[in-house]
Each structure stands twice: as structure tokens, then as C-alpha cells.
Symmetry: C2
Subunit: 523 residues, 2 copies
């Protein structure tokens, strides 16, 4: 993980560039950083990734002007751990975003969760401060909603959005509606001041989030601040929504309407950067938090293209993500990089862009992608797939080894909860937890991206792949120091009853008695 050299080199490069006049009048020393993080959007949802309706002209153009990663991964098949990994550069097993309540369970931050991002974790915006960045999060935080977890306590300077998913509407008695914050205080709740019409799918939230992004960019540009914008919007997470102008416009139904509005918004963000002449001084990265939620398909869920299963699983459909890097004048246009990339790389890469080193007192899983993006260099590195504290699989080069296979329980499956609709690979998409730690199932993802044909245990190729995977996994496991699990305890009393600012709005609700209990994570 050669983070030191490229970061230093990059800073030198910047100094050189500005000395030869490329640094425009008052341009910040370090490039702005815009991370566009989608919610439950799948690898197969963009035209440039082969979605047949091809309704993402702006994202496709972004790819044509930048670098497309076909082998880019989330750090977890579920939202909160994935986002915690992005902002810390560390696997959820390290930063505490996992549960030990049962074996191999996905966990996240519903509003009854007690835990959240530990104070000991260094978040990206916190570190970017050292280089003078102003940071804003627009959209879903999802790293804990109790006061100590507030994003402005973890380095962000501004926030517009919600701490949890936009589920609801709730009755504000058994369960409060999710609040929407501006900075420190709530400014309303979903389904109240921020309506989402579940019947029609209409909501103008993406337009609001877009405006927040455009305003922030303009303000920072006017003040000549380097900025970090984390645009974590959620229109493609069920219940999916779109504003009136986009509803009914997609060939793909409501989910497609949401994608079209997002695509349009990304276009407007890039247009603004171009219009302000800061495109060449702004690094933009587009990706998603986990695979498409096939349980919500087809009307409320996206596409994972040719990959197996979706969100909640550690098959490729659950964790392989669309990913586009854009930085005109620096990242060459129309490139495809087969670097195995991780959402955690956005942490290290952003620090490198800012001329900073990642923290040296802890393990950082993210790589600096700049050598890949700027010089086409490829680094051999593993991708780890976890559920809870269980290492389910690892990918190294073209080989993916599954140590455990599981989709969900027979009980859930029989009730209609299906993470792999229409797909069934015997011995692979299992409904019981199957251990393969001694003799992992190994797939060659180049020949078999859909994980349908495990290599024969007797083949030379299997033995060779196993021989390469085994020491990498052993080294990972031996060195691993798991963080304190944050997602074990739930309590109805910690829900969003009375967020800061509720009094000004007359929106404070009375919490029930505090009863801590083990959270139940069924899959």
C-alpha cells in the first residue's frame, strides 16, 4: 500500500502545475473532492454498464470523460457498514460497524440502534480539515443518529439530510418519522415537511439534494475554499421516488425514473463545475453503497447486470458497484481500469489528493487510486467480503474464494424474502449457512462473472488459486484487530423522538422507557 510516495508526488505535481500557470486565479492548492454515493444502485443500472434502456447519458458521458471501473467493490453488502468503511478507509470489522449477535449477520443503523461511529475512528472530513477543506454531507448519514454520532461532530461542516433511511410513514407514537437535519438541528421529518408519496412515488428530495450540492459548490468556489462534498442521496433505495418532472419518463418504471433524475442531477453538478471553470480542479467519483436490492425488484429495485444475487449477499451482485472517476485534464478520458477497487479507496485517494497521509496508528484498507488513475498502474490486492464478523469470501486477481455461502434462511425464503430472484446455483446460493473454510468454493470471475461454475477441487487451477488465496487470508486474519461491535444493541428509547431543534418546530415526541435489547438481524 504505497500511500506515502504518490501523495507526496501528487503534492509536488500540484506545486509544479500551479507554478506553470495551471493554477487559475486563486485556485485552491488541493483539488476539490466530490463523492457521489448512490443508495442500492446496482452495477447494471447505468447505460455504460449495459443497462438495456440506456437512460443515463450524463453518467455515460462522465465515464467517457473519465475512468470506468468494472471491478469496484463495496466493503459490505449493506448500507451503514459500507458508508462507515468509505469514510474511515477501514473494513467494518475494524471500525465497529458489525454485529456479533448471531453468526454472519448483516447489520445496519435503524433508528433503534444504540451504536454509531466510534469517537476513535478518524473520518475523512475530519482529516481533510488539516488541508483546509470545508466539508458537507448531503443526504443519508447512517453512521448513528444519537448526539455523539452527529456528522458535524465527525468533521463535516455542513449537513443537509437524514440520519437514517427514508422508511415510513410512521405514526409518531410507536415509531417517529425520520428527521431531516440542516446542520445541527432538525428542520422537519420525512412524510411531514419532506413528503414522499408512496402511492405515486413523487418526492422532490433529489431536487432539494441537488440544490444543496450546487449551492455548496458555488459558495465554496466564491470563497476560494477547497471543498469536500459527500452527496449521499437515496432516491434509488426503496421506497424509490422521483420528482414530478421525472415520474413516468423511464422505460424502466419508477426505479428508472429515480435513476433518470439522479443522472440529470449528476449532469447538472458536472455542468456547474465546468461552468465555474473548476472541473480541472475537482475530483469527482461516482459509486454506490451496495448492490441493487433485488428483493424490491422490479418496481423498486435495480439491476446487478450479469452478476449473482444482490444486496445482503456476498455474491458479486451484492458488492460489485458501478464506479466512475472524473477529473478532466488529469484523469485521461474514456479509460477502463481493471484495478480491483474498493469504496475504502476513496478515503485514501481523497487524502492523497489533499496531500495528506492516512493515519499511521491503525490499519487502513483503502488504497490510493491516483497511481492507477493517473499512470494506469495496477496493484494486486484482495477484496474481502464480510457478513458481521464472518469472512465470507475473498477476491484476489480473477479468483474469488467463498469460505461461507448463504443467502438467507429457509424460513425467510419461504416467506418470500428472496435475495436472488430467478437465480439458483446449486450448492452456492444456499439457504443454510454452509462452511467451506477448509475447501473454499473458488470461481474465476473473468470466465464466470456470474459465479455459476465453481472450479473443480481436483484441478490444478483450483490448487494454484487456493495456494495464492490462503496466505493472503491467513495474513489478514492473523493481523486483524476487530473493533468494538457497534450494532449489537437496540433500544426503542433512542429513536428519533426529540432530535435537536425539535422544540423550535414543536416536533418533540416523548420517548418510551429505555429497554436495551439485542438487535435481531435475521440475515
Amino acid at each position: 500500500m504505497a500511500a506515502v510516495a504518490p501523495a507526496t508526488r501528487w503534492r509536488l505535481l500540484l506545486l509544479l502545475l500551479s507554478s506553470v500557470g495551471l493554477g487559475a486565479v486563486g485556485a485552491p492548492q488541493s483539488p476539490n473532492i466530490v463523492l457521489l454515493l448512490m443508495d442500492d444502485m446496482g452495477w447494471g443500472d447505468l447505460g455504460v454498464y449495459g443497462e438495456p434502456s440506456r437512460e443515463t447519458p450524463n453518467l455515460d458521458r462522465m465515464a467517457a470523460e473519465g475512468t470506468l471501473f468494472p471491478n469496484f467493490y463495496s466493503a459490505n453488502p449493506l448500507c451503514s457498514p459500507s458508508r462507515a468503511a468509505l469514510l474511515t478507509g477501514r473494513l467494518p470489522i475494524r471500525n465497529g460497524f458489525y454485529t456479533t449477535n448471531a453468526h454472519a449477520r448483516n447489520a445496519y443503523t435503524p433508528q433503534e440502534i444504540v451504536g454509531g461511529i466510534p469517537r476513535s475512528e478518524h473520518l475523512l472530513p475530519e482529516l481533510l480539515k488539516e488541508a483546509g477543506y470545508i466539508s458537507k454531507i448531503v443526504g443519508k448519514w447512517h453512521l448513528g443518529h444519537r448526539p455523539q454520532f452527529h456528522p458535524l461532530k465527525h468533521g463535516f461542516d455542513e449537513w443537509f439530510g437524514s440520519p437514517n433511511c427514508h422508511f415510513g410513514p410512521y405514526d409518531n407514537r410507536a415509531r417517529p418519522n425520520i428527521p431531516v437535519y440542516r446542520d445541527w438541528e432538525m428542520v422537519g421529518r420525512f412524510y411531514e415537511e419532506f413528503p414522499i408519496n408512496l402511492k405515486t412515488g413523487e418526492s422532490n428530495l433529489t431536487q432539494i439534494y441537488l440544490q444543496e450540492a450546487l449551492d455548496f459548490i458555488k459558495r465554496q468556489q466564491a470563497q476560494q475554499h477547497p471543498f469536500f462534498l459527500y452527496w449521499a442521496i437515496d432516491a434509488t433505495h426503496a421506497p424509490v421516488y422521483a420528482s414530478k418532472a421525472f415520474l413516468g419518463t423511464s422505460q424502466r418504471g419508477r426505479y428508472g425514473d429515480a435513476v433518470r433524475e439522479i443522472d440529470d442531477s449528476v449532469g447538472k453538478i458536472l455542468d456547474l463545475l465546468r461552468g465555474l471553470s473548476i472541473g480541472e480542479n475537482t475530483f469527482v467519483f461516482f459509486t454506490s453503497d451496495n448492490g441493487a436490492a433485488l428483493i424490491s425488484a422490479p418496481r423498486q429495485g435495480g439491476s446487478n447486470g450479469p452478476f449473482l444475487c444482490g444486496k445482503q449477499t456476498t455474491f458479486e451482485g451484492g458488492m460489485r458497484e458501478p464506479a466512475i472517476a472524473w477529473w478532466p485534464g488529469h484523469i485521461p478520458a474514456a479509460q477502463v481500469s481493471h484495478q480491483l477497487g474498493s469504496i475504502m479507496d476513496l478515503f485514501t485517494t481523497s487524502l492523497s489528493l489533499a496531500g495528506l497521509e492516512p493515519p499511521s496508528d491503525r490499519t487502513i484498507d483503502g488504497l490510493d487510486l491516483l497511481p492507477t488513475l493517473l499512470q494506469g498502474r495496477l496493484v494486486d490486492r484482495p477484496i474481502f467480503y464480510y457478513r458481521g464478523n464472518t469472512l465470507m469470501a475473498v477476491t484476489l486477481g480473477q479468483y474469488k474464494a467463498h469460505f461461507w455461502t448463504w443467502t438467507n434462511s429457509w424460513e425467510e425464503f419461504r416467506q418470500g424474502v428472496d435475495f436472488c430472484p430467478g437465480q439458483n446455483v446449486s450448492g452456492v446460493t444456499t439457504h443454510t449457512q454452509e462452511e467451506h473454510t477448509q475447501l473454499p468454493l473458488i470461481f474465476h470471475l473473468g470466465r464466470d462473472p456470474g459465479e455459476r461454475y465453481p472450479l473443480s477441487f481436483a484441478s490444478a487451477e483450483y490448487l494454484d488459486a487456493l495456494g495464492r488465496v490462503t496466505p493472503v487470508v491467513r495474513q489478514h486474519q492473523e493481523a486483524l484487530v476487530p473493533g468494538q461491535p457497534q450494532l449489537n444493541v437496540c433500544n426503542q428509547a433512542v429513536m428519533n423522538w426529540a432530535p435537536p431543534g425539535c422544540d423550535k418546530l414543536g416536533k418533540c415526541l416523548t420517548p418510551p422507557e429505555s429497554v436495551p435489547e439485542k438487535c435481531s438481524w435475521p440475515h
Copy 2:
């Protein structure tokens, strides 16, 4: 089917263009036509269609310079009928390329087939002669190998290739090896003069086919003839092969090696057209004869992207094809057309390019795509999916109605013949022939390209879709005059024992006694 107007208009346009000087020195009056027809290549095999390894830079560039069709269909999920449909502009049920030996069976032209393309059918090269075109077929003919079916008796002026698939090697006793022809006579046999190493996958056939194409183009250009090149190569049909320079170079294994060599060859063909300055006078279309053969995956079969099942089936994976139209200076660059297209359209479109009308004494199923390609016009038209003489399904707009579902028999399936590996949609991918003619299964292909979620029979959407599909199907069936079925009778005596020219090579074999029998088509 407004074929008259565009064809006339096009001719006028050409006259106008040449009168203002765009017709270069001695340029032919009508554009050259190059049809690049792949064998068993799937929709998902090209980078531009989302194949994760993205190893088709030349085809991707062709798409960037032309029009990509995401909704383009074969006329049959199997090779011979599909090719007969391309060259006649007519459904196999009309041109005779089907069987009635059993219900809903795929049939083709193995070397024991007695039938072939009927004399009464007008093939594209035959018609193009009227406009002065010289035509060559390079590669697989597959419309019958007995003397009366020879391509040079059906309008082609030149042939280099084989009448049947490159299966083998055979012992030349029970079964002869397939001959390779140059024009009227054989010049050798596969696995003899034209080796394919089944163990290594090495064969230089694609290089030979490429050279044939380049030579033909140069010769016709030198003689100022408008030409039609039908480049029907077969490296992606099992047994897949590649030449030494490409073997082992793909991330996708041997199948990918074959694709890379084809991609490279397409690049060389387009480069030659550009180099000879006839790119703007040459219409090039790339497509495939049917979906990827998933029975041969992963080592010898391709990818159908997000679609259901593959070759042999009437699900999208069996019949939706990659399709790119290229004609610089005429077809605008980087377009995507959602016109429902058919391989049969290449017949009508080619005639239109040549300023010819399709035959008026018979039903032609192909549309003229020029209004779509040149003016972006969309035409509402059905796509029919047949197995044998059974109408299995129809697509109209976004709706696909299945009247019959079947993959293959339980017996075959239990023996390991699987057309939908890893896929299983309850009640859809059936192993018994299920009739739905009264109440078809209907899918919305925009929301559900993978055919996983049949519309509810009770929904208003279902009733509306059914109401639109029903009259179209009724009209089709009422007007249908099936051709004489050509694929019912087999006979060992008609195999390629003694093709013309065998005597000169000392390669004539003695046929066995003539015993006509019903061909057996298991699925």
C-alpha cells in the same frame, strides 16, 4: 412497412450527393454493404453491452461511431433458421427453415439434413445483382450443403467457408469431416487442411476469414464494383478457437480469446474501409445469429448479459443480439436506437441501400431500418419468437407475451443439458411444454429485462398489454402461409462424402446406402 418511400428517397439522396461532389472519383452509385454475422455470440459479450472484462475496443469504437441497438433480435434461437431469415428477410416459418417432426422443436442443418434453402426463396445477394453488386460469403453458409443449395446458386459470386458447423474431428468413415469451399469446389476439410486443435483451441481460421474479407474489399474497390460482403465467421461457436497470437490473452478464457481475435479483425476491416476512403460509402452492420450457448459456458460459451437463458430458447437470452450499425457521414455517431430490430431487417435495409424494392409477391418480415438510422424514426412492430412452427412468444413495445414456455425436457435436463444454468424462474423456465395461449405470461421488458416477474393476470396493465398483443398475433397467424418444411428429413447418404472438387484433392469418400429418415430434434 414503408419500404418504398425510403428506398426511393435514399436513391434520390444519393443522386443529389453525387451531383454535389460527394460521390468520389468513380464511386459506386450505391453504398457497399458489409454484414458481420457472429456465431453464438451473446448480447452481453461486448464491452459496450457491459461485458465486465471490456475486451472489444474495436467494436466499442464502432458503436461510438455508429448506432447501437439494445433491442435487436434474431429470427430464431438457432443458427440455420436465423441465417435463412437474414438472407430472405422472412421468418423461418415462411422460408421453410423449420421442422414439423415434433411440437416446438429447434432444427438446423447438420450434414445429414436433406433439405436446404428452397429455390423459390429470393436471397439478398441474388436481388442485389440487379443493382450491380458483387457478393461474397466468407464463413458458414448453413442453408443446406447439397448441390442445389450451394451459395453460388443463390446469388453469391464468391464463397470461402463451410456449409456446416466446424464440429469434429470425424473419422471419415461413419461421418466425413466438414469440407471448406472456395467458390464451387472444396479445398480441404476441417481438422485436415484446416486444423482446429481441440485441446489447445488453436486455429488460424479467423485470420483466414479476415484475409478473405480484406482481399475481397480491395479487389472490388479496385474494380469500382459495389459489393456485398457477408462475413459469417464462427470462432465463438463451440469448439471455440483463436489463433496463436490471441490464445491466452483474454481475461475470459478461450471464449474471450476468440472474441478478442474477432474484435481485432473487425477493427482491421473498418480500418481498411477508412484507409481506402470508402468508409462513407460502406454500410457495416454487426450482429449475431442467436444468443450465447450457455450449455457451452463458461469455457466455450459467451454471455447474454442480464437476460434469461440462452441459445435454443425463446427467452431474451436466446434471441436478443448485439447489433451495431456503422456508416460514417450518414449514420450519426454514438447513437442508441430503441427500435425493435430484427436480423430480417438487414435484408430489407440492404435492398433499400441499393435502391431496390423487396419482392412484392410474398410477405417480407424485415423492415427498412434507414429511416431509423438516418432520421431516428421509430416504428411499432412485433418480434415473433418461434420454435419449429410453434409461435412461442411475441414482443410488442415493452411487452413480451409467452404463449408457450419450454427450455428442454426433464430427460435432457437430468442428463446435464441446461439452457439456463444458474437461472430458474418458477413457471417460466419450464422443463415441460406449458401452453399459455389463452392467458399468456406477459413481461414488461423495460422494468424486467430478465423475464422474472410475469404481470399479474388481474392487473389493468396485463389486460391492456393483452389487448394490444392479441390482434397483432391474430393478424399474423391468419395471414401466415407456412413454407414447405425443409428440416424434417435426414439421410446419412447426403453427408459431405464427396463434395465437388473432392476428386482433384483425392478426398472423395463413399457414401453409405440412402436411408431417408425423420430427423430427431430433441428440443
